[in-house]
Amino acid sequence: MQTEPRSTDADMASTGFLNDDVHEGDHASSSIQAVMINRPRSELYAFWREFRNLPLFMANVRSVSSDGRDWVIAGPGGMDVELETEIVEDRPGEKIAWRSTEAADVDHEGWVEFRDNAFGRGTEVRVMISYDPLAGAVGKLVAKVMQREPRIQARRELRRFKQLMETGEVSTSQAPGAAPRG
């Protein structure tokens, strides 16, 4: 039996984690996030456009087909959720936009844009992710798996993308190396 709190994380509890003050796009829940990446624009676009790379930095995406159409998202208890998407815009070196098809359980759209920073600091990458978390039971599940908040999800995915592009790896402090908990 444990009386002491297992961590002091609660001290950090803040409405900032449940931030929903940014709305963009057509859906109930959406977010734009931006990150500066210290690599050439063409290289970043090419890596993203190779859709099979996406699971390398999108934590909950298990696989994406090479045409960017079929997404498999990891669910709790090893359950997979499939998502069908179409690429609605593809401007080499600049922008890729996608949207869920009629067949998909989750109403979802997004884009990623690559721009040279005018002051030589690298490439500005902006991502918009938008979806309706209330579109059916599967949608709710996906929303949960995607860490509920598209803003947090997009922010974390962009951070991982930046880490991978700049350092060649996604930083982690996960066990092993951590002590047993509790």
């Binding site: 700049e166 350092t167 047993p180």
Partner: protein, 390 residues
């Protein structure tokens, strides 16, 4: 392996935990040969830094022998002896490009950076063994540690050199050095250092090396003051004198040119401001005890400089912001950009120009780490610096 783990306020234990493994290509594993307890660890021990989890391995001052390298770690070889900076930095981001390594944008894992982004506006860099705000990385008060970006951070030290001479390159030597550098010392300057703990002592050594005309050190522990004196400082015991008056008198009314807060968020003091701060800190409002910072701002001469290596984590109030503005002061601070200083400081150690071992009071096996924490915390007069051997 065995490691010192955090379980709550004033509760740390040496436990058996899983060995670290190579996770990322640029990782290395080192077998730790020496590690130290830092004043910063006392902030965790006192539980005034949030986002700690039970079982976290502490320790950010450590060195050892490389026993395994990932395929992407091209510069290290098994068998080399390395000292590891407490700041984890990738070497490739915008901030690393500016040598602002403690601001590295990549070393704090994505799932750990939300908290510091909320608390500080932008995510903090990763640090070893220093809460999940700064990455949740397992620390080095252990037999082994995993070193991310091992091809960039650790500095290889020459064969045969005693661990104790180079161990403090991991933190307190560069921290004291940067604190002195941030004070912008000019010829003829009087520099005041609050706190004669390990950081204060290295600040004194560095300030004198950089040519300060006069260094005045403040504390109340006789042994710590004696060490400061032995290193060339004039000393003030804040239990015996009124600090502001003494400094004014010693500088004939001009005031010190640079004031360095090497104490941080757990400053002691009996002034009413500090008592209020202590109550707030105890009640977890996250208000830092900033008695020393206030005193430094008041004591500093007009147009002078404040340097603040002392760690603060939360929110402060009642800063004499008017005095700060009206006197035209400058403030510099930050977690140390350790990597930036290592080649130069290793050279100073090798040349014998800076004594890096005089502050060590106790050497203990890692198994006795919990006792060492207790003593370093409860009896700082005699326990000036502890080195642990796994």
């Amino acid at each position: 392996m065995r490691a010192l783990t955090w379980h709550g306020k004033h509760d740390v234990r040496v436990d058996t935990v899983p060995d670290p493994e190579i996770v990322n290509p640029r990782d290395a594993i080192i077998k730790i040969t020496a590690t130290a307890i830092c004043g910063s660890d006392l902030h965790l021990y006192d539980s005034v830094i949030p986002a700690m989890h039970r079982g976290d391995i502490l320790g950010h001052e450590f060195m050892g022998e490389v026993v395994e390298v990932g395929r992407g770690s091209t510069s290290l070889r098994v068998g080399q002896k390395v000292v590891v900076p407490f700041v984890i930095a990738c070497g490739q981001c915008f901030f690393c490009g500016k040598e602002q390594y403690s601001a590295c944008d990549n070393s704090n894992p994505a799932d750990k950076s939300d908290a510091s982004e909320v608390a500080y506006g932008y995510p903090a860099a990763g640090l070893f063994g220093y809460s999940h705000l700064t990455g949740g990385y397992a620390g080095g008060q252990a037999e082994y540690a995993r070193i991310p970006y091992s091809d960039f951070g650790p500095i290889v030290v020459p064969d045969g050199i005693e661990d104790e001479r180079v161990l403090f390159l991991s933190d307190i030597f560069p921290t004291g050095w940067m604190a002195a550098e941030n004070a912008g010392i000019e010829p003829g300057d009087t520099v005041v250092v609050w706190g004669c703990g390990p950081v204060g002592l290295f600040t004194i050594k560095s300030a004198i090396h950089m040519g300060a005309a006069r260094v005045i050190a403040i504390d109340h522990h006789p042994r710590r003051l004696a060490l400061a004196k032995q290193n060339g400082a004039e000393v003030l015991n804040y239990h015996e004198v009124k600090v502001l008056e003494a400094l004014k008198e010693m500088t004939a009314g001009i005031g010190p040119d640079a004031c360095i807060d090497a104490v941080g968020m757990e400053a002691h003091g009996f002034a009413p401001d500090n008592v209020i701060d202590a109550v707030k800190q105890e009640t977890k409002l996250g208000t830092d005890r900033q008695h020393v910072l206030r005193e430094a701002i008041m004591a500093c001469r007009k147009g002078g400089r404040i340097s603040m290596p002392g760690v603060y984590g939360g929110i402060g109030d009642k800063l004499p912001i008017g005095a700060f503005m009206q006197k035209g002061l400058t403030l510099k601070t930050g977690q140390t950009h350790v990597q930036k200083y290592l080649p130069k400081l290793l050279e100073l150690v090798m040349d014998g120009q800076i004594d890096t071992t005089d502050l060590i009071s106790h050497r203990l096996p890692l198994e006795e780490a919990a006792t060492a924490y207790k003593n370093f915390h409860d009896n700082p007069n005699e326990w000036t610096k502890v080195v642990l051997k796994p």
